[in-house]
Symmetry: C2
Subunit: 124 residues, 2 copies
């Protein structure tokens, strides 16, 4: 299963790089120049997640948002940082703040999904 380079991959990655935020499929589709099928965008995004290029966040709206892995922990496959979703501008960004928690004996944590919702600095 070797990856191939396609215009779609490149376009999606460019959008996410330029924005610097976590974006949903529909936001990417709206922002992207070329016309890409919805299912294809999801497949591209999920492939990037599998390859450790992106990571996925599920917000309170139940939607999936995808962001570049900048300094994410690759060895543990965890992205243990907080995310912030502004309810005004609707953008989601990765916060530098790390997630720290304690769990009961015998529990095994495999993934972390932490989203704070509110108003960002530019919107307040």
């Amino acid at each position: 299963m070797k990856r191939r380079n396609t215009p779609t991959k490149e376009a999606v990655l460019n959008i996410l790089t330029e924005s610097g935020k976590a974006m949903s499929q529909d936001a990417i589709e709206r922002k992207i120049a070329i016309d890409i099928n919805r299912a294809t965008i999801y497949r591209v995004l999920n492939r990037f997640c599998d390859d450790g290029v992106l990571h996925k966040v599920v917000a309170e709206d139940g939607k999936q948002y995808f962001a570049l892995c900048n300094g994410c922990d690759e060895t543990h496959q965890k992205h243990q940082h907080f995310h912030f979703k502004c309810k005004v501008c609707e953008t989601i960004e990765c916060l530098p703040s790390e997630v720290n928690f304690s769990i009961p004996e015998g529990y095994l944590v495999e993934n972390v999904n932490c989203v704070l919702t509110g108003v960002c600095d530019t919107c307040s």
Copy 2:
């Protein structure tokens, strides 16, 4: 808008009290004795959330889970504790571990949604 006492309300609250976990609409519908419409269950749950009886958690599957407010923040605005979802038994529970974070200047946090996913002690 005064609340009324109905068999539906009571049944839903009983289910959630007995389980002691956070439950989704479909799980409640499956567990409940009487037959209640899907939309009605959601309306009951959302009303309970408005009244501060329940709180809502969105898991990585994008679904909403509802749990009793036991010792939640008295303002009923924030429920700043972690939640754990076992990928084996699919149950979600409220953890005692509080959510602590630092946020950039000018940001205002209004809600917290933190879900850890993995395997619980009974399933491991």
